[in-house]
């Protein structure tokens, strides 16, 4: 068979795609009407499990964009046992992530030593005003509901020791 010039081959490809789209439909979805489910591990938005956070600031310090703002104070809590010293606990006053700055690198999630931050695949949180992209503690907490179950480990995989 003689060699078909690339130009002609290209014309064939586009015409083929044209007929495929007409007969079988497009590869895209019409977004607001139908939505694609993003994969479980998609990086949509970061959720905060407040109870786990010790305000250690590791996430804020490792953030390349400096988009995490944390303020906290220490409080004295009653001792665990009778006659013991009162415990010091970290109280989280403020935990904001500015999604106008965030570049979704996920370093904060990786670096958190107490599993307080989680990725969730939610993506519909655009705002008409850029300032509204600053999600505060309460809003980041709400995202926790959307955190998907961690996928099953492969059979035979080594279980993490607790």
């Amino acid at each position: 068979m003689p060699k078909v010039p690339g130009m002609v081959k290209g014309l064939g490809v586009t015409l083929g795609t044209l007929f495929e789209t007409v007969t079988k439909g497009a590869n895209t979805v019409q977004y607001p009407h139908e939505k694609e489910a993003p994969p479980t591990r998609a990086r949509g938005v970061i959720a905060l499990h407040e109870g786990n956070c010790t305000s250690c600031m590791l996430c804020a310090r490792s953030c390349p964009d400096w988009c995490i703002y944390i303020e906290g104070h220490k409080e004295l809590a009653p001792p665990r046992r009778e006659g013991g010293k009162p415990r010091k606990v970290n109280m989280l006053d403020r935990f904001d992530i500015d999604y106008a700055l965030c570049m979704y690198c996920g370093i904060c999630v990786e670096v958190c030593p107490f599993d307080a931050l989680f990725w969730t695949p939610e993506y519909e949180y655009s705002e008409p005003r850029i300032a509204d992209l600053l999600h505060d503690k309460a809003k980041l907490g709400e995202w926790m509901e959307t955190v998907p179950e961690a996928p099953e480990l492969e059979s035979g995989a080594e279980k993490k020791k607790k």
Partner: protein
């Protein structure tokens, strides 16, 4: 007095009809090409649906776009040559309107029946180079200037093969009048066989191919879109334009595509006619009156076919480099079309 469908129309009425017809004949193909090809066919070729929200299947998208452009601010750069800057898009669009004036749509449905029609059309079509150069220079922007100069170099280079390709048709038809070229095609015969007439796409196939490539370059459609290369020149001479001035450039681009498609169908596909032998017509005076209505429809059909090819090639090809583009015009297209002229003249004299 002339009769259109057996209704006598006075001269002023004819003139009014022709002016209105000219506007329709420029804007209707432009809108159709943009919707059918630019919005829909391009999307389908990329396996997506294109605009779907405005109107059924996005058919009113163009209206929305025009509305958007009209309400945008008309920005003129501070250091721009304001008067020339404002004039440039109009010059480009005017060349399109001047071009439609000689295209015949039926035995009586023409705007002007000009004796040297094709000569005039080719001369006027190069007017758009002027508008593009004006836009590039007046924008006071180095990318615009670069785009304008590239456009000028390209349009001049591809004007030549276009003219030379048309000469083959002119030699074969023996006339420069576009109406007569249509008649010659539909009443002619190929080596004695007159069942199809003689559409010059068959006997002038080389000329047709050269002409198609040349108008692709004249319209600065890919693969010849070096002057408006988005990735390096940010749309070239159109960079500084916004609002309705950009809209005029946009209309100009696709209206010219439409008019050039009409011109191609007149020159190579038999224009408004069907082969005269089918109905027993011999020349333009014996053509039945209903062809004045059927003619434009036939023309639009042929135009859509040609525009389809132009747009199909546009959506499928990558961009030529500047030197490849010039070399292709001067070293391939011009020699080929010169050879075509020589062959055509030999056949014309011998046969």
């Amino acid at each position: 007095m002339m009769s259109v469908l057996a209704v006598e129309v006075p001269y002023w009425g004819q003139s009014l009809l022709r002016v209105l017809g000219g506007i329709v004949a420029v804007l209707l193909p432009a809108g159709t090409i943009v919707y059918v090809f630019l919005f829909k066919m391009m999307s389908f070729m990329q396996s997506r649906l294109g605009p779907m929200e405005a109107g059924p299947y996005g058919s009113l998208q163009l209206v929305a776009e025009v509305g958007k452009w009209l309400q945008k601010e008309d920005i003129i750069p501070e250091r721009a040559d304001a008067r020339i800057f404002k004039m440039a898009p109009v010059v480009v669009l005017v060349s399109t309107f001047l071009l439609i004036a000689v295209v015949p749509f039926g035995p009586d449905a023409w705007f002007t029946n000009f004796e040297v029609g094709i000569f005039y059309a080719l001369a006027v079509s190069s007017l758009s180079v002027l508008g593009i150069l004006m836009a590039g220079w007046a924008s006071a922007n180095k990318y615009s200037l670069l785009g304008g100069l590239r456009a000028a170099g390209q349009l001049i280079a591809y004007e030549l093969p276009m003219v030379l390709a048309v000469i083959g048709v002119v030699i074969q038809a023996g006339t420069m009048n576009l109406q007569q070229i249509v008649v010659a095609q539909n009443s002619g015969s190929i080596f004695g066989f007159d069942g199809l007439g003689n559409p010059y796409i068959l006997t002038q196939f080389v000329g047709f191919v050269v002409f198609m490539i040349a108008i692709q370059a004249e319209l600065t459609q890919a693969p010849f879109d070096m002057p408006i290369a988005e990735s390096e020149l940010v749309s070239g001479y159109m960079t500084e334009y916004s609002g309705f001035r950009f809209l005029i450039f946009f209309i100009g681009e696709f209206a010219t595509a439409g008019v050039f498609s009409l011109l191609t169908s007149v020159l190579f596909l038999g224009g408004w006619g069907v082969p005269f032998a089918w109905f027993g017509w011999s020349d333009v005076d014996s053509v039945a009156n209903w062809m004045n209505v059927a003619g434009p429809i036939i023309m639009i059909t042929k135009m859509m076919l040609i525009a389809f090819i132009i747009m199909w090639v546009r959506f499928s090809s990558p961009r030529f480099r500047e030197d490849q583009l010039q070399r292709f015009a001067w070293k391939v297209l011009i020699p080929v079309s010169l050879g075509n002229i020589a062959l055509t003249s030999i056949f014309k004299v011998v046969m």
